[in-house]
Amino acid sequence: MARIKKKGTSGAAKNYITRTRAVKKLQISLPDFRRLCIFKGIYPREPRKKKKVTKGSTAATTFYYTKDIQYLLHEPLLAKFREHKAVSKKIARALGRGEAGDAARLEKNLVPKIKLDHIIKERYPTFVDALRDLDDALSMLFLFANLPSSEHVPAKTISLCQKLCHEFEHYVIVSHSLRKSFLSIKGIYYQATIQGQDILWLVPYRFVQRTGGDIDFRIMGTFIEFYTTLLGFVNYRLYTTIGLVYPPKFNAKMDEQGAELSAFQVEGKSVGTDNASTGNEEAPAVANPEAQAIADKLAALPETEEEETALAPVQPVDEDEANEEIDKFEVTAPGADELPQPQASNAEVASLFAPFTFYLSRETPRAPLEFLLKAFGCKRIGWDGAFGEGAFTTNESDPSITHQIVDRPSLSNGAETSEDADTAPKVQWPRSTMPGRTYVQPQWVWDCINQSKLLRPDLYAPGAELPPHLSPWVKPKKGEYDPNLSLQEQEAEGEAAAFEEEEDEEEERADLKVNGDGNNVDALLDRESSVEAGEGMDVDGSEDDEDDSDESDEGPAADEFDGFDSDAESDISEGEAARLQHQRELEAEATGKTLEPEVETTKSKNAAIRKKAEKKRKQEEEERARQKMMLSNKKRKLLKRIEYGANKRDTEAETLRRKRRKLEKAKSAANAI
């Protein structure tokens, strides 16, 4: 007879191990175990049949795979930890005896240095694996690069993080792999595509971070230790694959003077790329020949550019057209499936800002703008001298500057004269503007990048009300609200009518609203549709730049609401009538009399539409309930779960649509008056 199997000796009970048991098995302290887990990437598991593992106890416990822990037993780091423990005991003893010198010597000579190279290789067997996992690493390192040093965060760590981050940014700039960026309220998101992997990281705005509360910097420090090693190797690999020398030359003096990105000098590996070392971050190996040609051409004739400033932005358009662009496949008929389309190529990215010279005003965030502009091909970026070293120019009146990024409200009166510009050359804007220079707010850069084309700068003129900044990662699904589309395109049947009914306090202006919506949509589409660079400029280009922004502000607005003025009055009276009608209906309802049918107003039409929609919906609901009756319990629960998500999405979209309708209505009302 076979032996009777004992309970708890095989299967799930054997495959999982609690944390306490794991720590005991490894014979290390809990903090050391934590470090080991962080380094090795070992995480708890949730047993599928918990009861079998816990042997019936219901206490909340953390489980690890027994195999994982078994595997940790052979970890070289474990020996290092033990060594460290022994040395720290010796040091503690020396300190206890008051032998500070001994303690210092022990600490210096005997404390084992922990190397994580083998773990990097083990956790990321291929380079692509490492790239895939770079999101968290970059976010964390960029955060630490922006932290002030404290007792938990030594200055050494911070400078290492800064160094690694700058090196990575240099790679992104040189390889033109940045794709998207987004200004959120948390910080700035960047997305780069390296070797087919999308890497998304978040960089905080440069403010002092709040580090209070229950934040354990030892845990973060362990992660940082791992991530710095990882990013070091990743950077090495990235640099060497495009033929650059890895640790790029670091100019400590420039760094001291706030050069940040420019303190590093990227060099090619081969001997023949001497010319590369002349420029600060000229990409020697991968420099895009077209972009280079454009840059050379522009550098050669800065004077001519000055003369034909109005034409300057137009030029790149021609160049772009000459480039081999990816054709966009647009869906012509609704209902067709959309295919994922190839993203902008490197060449396109490299040449977006290539022909321009930017100047960053003092109030703009320099570091992100410098990074973005450089990553999208801009070679010449000047900034205010207060920002530190590394600028192409610190002279704001430099004639070669084509774009100035400004984030200050414009002065209301246009009383500036040219003499002002002469007397105060230091900070020109907003007292005077250079002719032929485009003044834009920082958001323009981001929106251009996300749509990978140059947008109309007049919408982003200083002091103008900016168009909403939208996340480039949201792919609207069916049933979700999409701010890019008009309300008519996405609303459910009868929704608008229902809304109108509810909003019975005001006049009904369905037709007007439709008009307004249409116009709004047009404006929206205008902004977002492919306005070729400089097209906006062409319209107003002949006029003065000062007028430019004002004109553009008012221009579409005037167009939009031209039609309303005549209608407005009649509409109001009509609305009044509708309200009276409704009042009468209510009264009749209260008294129980039937109201004789009146002349059909838009109001009643609305009601009819809504009623019809409601009836239809009700019928559908009934049918659905009938079908649900026949489901088995299991399936019904499943359906409930699915429907929960869908319902949530629908209500969310509906509230958003509702809000938008309200806003649009208020806006059109304000405009009508």
């Binding site: 070992i42 995480y43 026949m630």
Partner: protein
């Protein structure tokens, strides 16, 4: 006890008695200096001096004197201590005798004595008072001790303020410096003249000036005695010539002893150089010459930020095997529109949403931030939770269990069964066509007559009423009982006759409502009912021992009042009857009275006026019973099971287990193969008798108990149930003749209309014999016709 007193003894007595000359002299000199000018100091000194020793008294006196005539006294202070002291005392004697200043001094002295006495008084008085404390015990309250720091303080030493200047500069002056008040400090008397005088006086040997208290003679001390006293004062051992620190004797020393401890000869190694050491030294020398041993250099400061050595870790990369258990950490989702610094205005929360968000617990919040609009980039503030969110992410990375979860990617439409549209399954009742009002209390039972013209109903008011279907008019009624409710009404299933059976309490009545019948139908009905009279009497049931048994059901005429209304037969059983069900031929009917244990189920034969009990004992409490529509089968439902019996063979055929807790009603499909069960636990169960003893379908669409279930008997595939939630549900239930296909059940319609009264809704339901109409009995006192 007096601290001053004790102090005086310890401090002042020794110099008086000691004979160490110079120290004493110094002390005296100091004393002189300190006491020179300040009279108050003097007096104080005298205070304590006077207390204990005359010698000191004398001294102080002498001080004063010296002050006054220092000029004359130039000599004697350098002389030997002992002699000097004696002389001083003599001088005192002398001065007290003569001299012009004597008066002053004596006056002083007198003052001093007086003060001393007072002090003594003070000192004799206890310096405490005795009181009683809270416990009644004596309590000593000590006065505050007055620590008097007197003369010999170091502060006295610096009376001369000339500082560190050689006194020789003052050789020509009568003074030697200045005190703190700027007054001259006069040069002390040298006493040369005095000394001359004193030297001339002969002092007997051993004179002390004290009197021996034992003899009264002057006390004389010998030299030895003085020596002992001197030793005592020095805390020395009294014995003469005692050495407290003798030289240490080293027993094992380098000194060569005359008699060595060991007689062994000196070993050779003591005087021959060691070859081994030479070898080792040479080794080291060689190593140094070869440069293997370097002179020690302190390790130079290594670069702290030891640059990591970078190389290509992925030089020989191999992809991870497919079957790896590793789950990569999920990436954070990219930000949505609402995270923008300048989002579209519809994403901004309004005031209520904002308040709700703020009120929520941090963990419950759907998103961790509140969308905000900033009209320019420069106005964007720092995000205060940045570090915290990063930290939480890192916690998630190493603490959160990762589970691979399949995303539900099911189209909800695919889950829903394809049901035939209700339009295709018409006809079925959808609306309320008529309401039969006029009854009081609950309507408990309702039934269509076999022709479908009339509806009979019975309720709590004890009436049986008959309604005309098409008009909704009440055409006939009779009050059967005053106390009991009519629990069940059923028509005899025969189209030629019209007999209504009704159960009220323990009585079952057979009614021929002749006022609404045509005469021949009435006659036929009466004939059937009357056929049995006398049958029971002619064949009395006897038991084996010949006794006449009490009949189970007593068949009788109900009395003239009821008979005039058409109630012709009354059957009385032993317990209240709840349900009546007729056999299809109208010959038998079964009644169930749940409370009569062994007599619960009874089968009555109409033609013989006979009542029989098919079961001697019944398992469980019977709820209802029904005949099979075509076979000789009989179904009895107890609370939680249904048994079917073969009446011909008289055996149990099947036990159905619907799994319900309490069955309320059953109905057998006209085809005979399916059974519908309604339960008080809200379930409607469809049993396929051929399939299994478990239900084929369980339908749970009611929120309250199901009271009644009915199949349509006239060939339409419909069935209905009535529930306490006030609604009836109509289903399409099609049974296919062959065994290959299961019955299809399609929900068709929920009929609502009856009001719920005291948690009772619809009590009964019945179908029209041909049309897709049904009638329901409600707890609100109405019946409704649905079509």
């Amino acid at each position: 006890m007096n601290p001053r007193k004790r102090k005086a003894i310890t401090r002042e007595a020794p110099p008086a008695e000691s004979d160490s000359g110079e120290e004493l002299a110094d002390g005296l000199l100091d004393g002189i200096l300190s006491h020179s000018e300040d009279s108050s100091d003097e007096s104080q000194d005298e205070d304590y001096d006077s207390e204990d020793s005359s010698v000191i008294e004398g001294l102080s006196d002498e001080d004063d004197e010296l002050d006054e005539d220092e000029d004359e006294d130039e000599s004697g202070f350098e002389s030997d201590g002992e002699e000097q002291r004696i002389r001083e005392q003599l001088r005192k004697l002398k001065t007290s005798d003569s001299s012009s200043e004597r008066r002053n001094t004596s006056l002083n002295l007198g003052d001093g004595e007086e003060k001393g006495l007072e002090d003594q008084d003070d000192s004799l008085k206890p310096n405490y008072t005795v009181t009683t404390d809270a416990n009644g015990n004596p309590r000593y309250l000590y006065k505050e001790i007055d620590p008097i720091y007197d003369s010999d303080d170091s502060a006295a030493d610096v009376t001369n303020t000339i500082g560190n200047i050689d006194l020789s500069y003052y050789d020509e002056y009568p003074h030697i410096g200045y005190d703190i008040n700027g007054k001259k400090i006069m040069r002390p008397a040298k006493g040369e003249a005095l000394d001359a005088l004193l030297d001339s006086i002969d002092i007997p040997k051993g004179w002390t000036g004290l009197t021996d208290p034992a003899t009264g003679k002057p006390l004389k001390l010998s030299d030895e005695e003085l020596d002992v006293l001197k030793r005592l004062t020095r805390n020395e051992v009294l014995e003469d010539g005692y050495d407290p620190y003798p030289e240490m004797v080293h027993y094992f020393s380098g000194v060569k002893e005359i008699m060595p401890l060991s007689a062994a000869p000196e070993p050779k190694r003591r005087f021959v150089p060691s070859k081994h050491e030479a070898k080792r030294v040479m080794k080291i020398v060689k190593a140094i010459r070869e440069g293997r041993i370097q002179p020690y250099k302190p390790p130079e400061e290594r670069e702290e930020d030891d640059e990591q050595i970078h190389y290509d870790v992925w030089a020989d990369e191999k992809p991870r095997p497919e079957k790896s258990m590793h789950i990569a950490a999920p990436k954070l989702p990219p930000p949505g529109y609402e995270a923008s610094y300048h989002p579209p205005p519809e994403y901004l929360p309004d005031k209520e949403e904002e308040a709700a968000w703020l009120e929520q617990d941090e963990e419950d919040r759907e998103r961790e931030f509140l969308p905000r609009n900033h009209d320019a980039l420069r106005k964007v503030p720092g995000y205060e939770n940045f570090v915290k969110e990063r930290f939480e992410r890192s916690l998630d990375l190493y603490l959160a269990p990762r589970v691979r979860r399949n995303k539900l990617n099911i189209d909800p439409e695919s889950l829903l069964p394809k049901l035939p549209s209700p339009e295709d399954l018409k006809p079925f009742p959808t609306t309320c066509a008529a309401i039969f009002r006029g009854q009081e209390g609950l309507v408990r039972s309702v039934a269509f007559d076999p022709l479908g013209i009339y509806v009979a109903s019975g309720g709590d008011d004890g009436f049986v009423r008959i309604w005309e279907l098409l008009t909704g008019r009440q055409v006939w009624n009779v009050k059967l009982s005053d106390e009991e409710a009519v629990d069940s009404v059923k028509w005899r299933p025969d189209k030629e006759t019209s007999i209504l059976s009704a159960a009220a309490g323990e009585d079952i009545y057979m009614i021929v409502p002749f006022t609404i019948l045509s005469p021949d139908v009435e006659q036929a009905s009466r004939d059937i009912l009357d056929a049995g009279w006398g049958y029971a009497a002619s064949q009395p049931s006897t038991t084996t021992n010949g006794e006449t048994k009490e009949p189970l059901g007593k068949w009788s005429r109900p009395g003239s009042r009821l008979e005039s209304k058409g109630v012709l037969v009354q059957v009385t059983v032993r317990s209240p009857v709840k349900t009546i069900n007729w056999h299809r031929k109208g010959e038998y009917f079964a009644t169930v009275s749940p409370r009569g244990q062994s007599t619960a189920v009874a089968i009555h034969t109409l033609s013989k006026h006979l009542t029989q009990l098919p079961f001697r004992r019944l398992k469980g409490i019977a709820q209802t019973a029904q005949f099979h529509p075509s076979k000789a089968l009989f179904f009895v439902a107890t609370r939680n099971s249904i048994r079917s019996y073969d009446l011909a063979k008289q055996e149990l055929v099947k036990i159905l287990q619907p799994g319900a807790k309490w069955i309320s009603s059953i109905d057998v499909h006209p085809g005979g193969d399916n059974l519908l069960v309604g339960t008080y636990d809200k379930r409607l169960l469809w049993h396929d008798l051929d399939l299994s003893t478990k239900p084929y379908k369980t339908l749970r669409f009611h929120t309250a108990a199901i009271r009644a279930v009915r199949y349509h008997q006239g060939g339409l595939p419909l069935f209905a149930d009535a529930s306490d939630d006030g609604s009836m549900q109509i289903f399409h239930g099609k049974v296919v003749g062959d065994m290959m296909e299961n019955a299809t059940i399609v929900p068709l319609k929920v009929l609502k209309g009856h009001k719920v009264k005291s948690r009772l809704g619809v009590m009964d339901v019945d179908w029209h014999p041909r049309e897709p109409w049904c009638v329901s009995a409600g707890a609100d006192g109405t019946c409704r016709l649905w079509n």
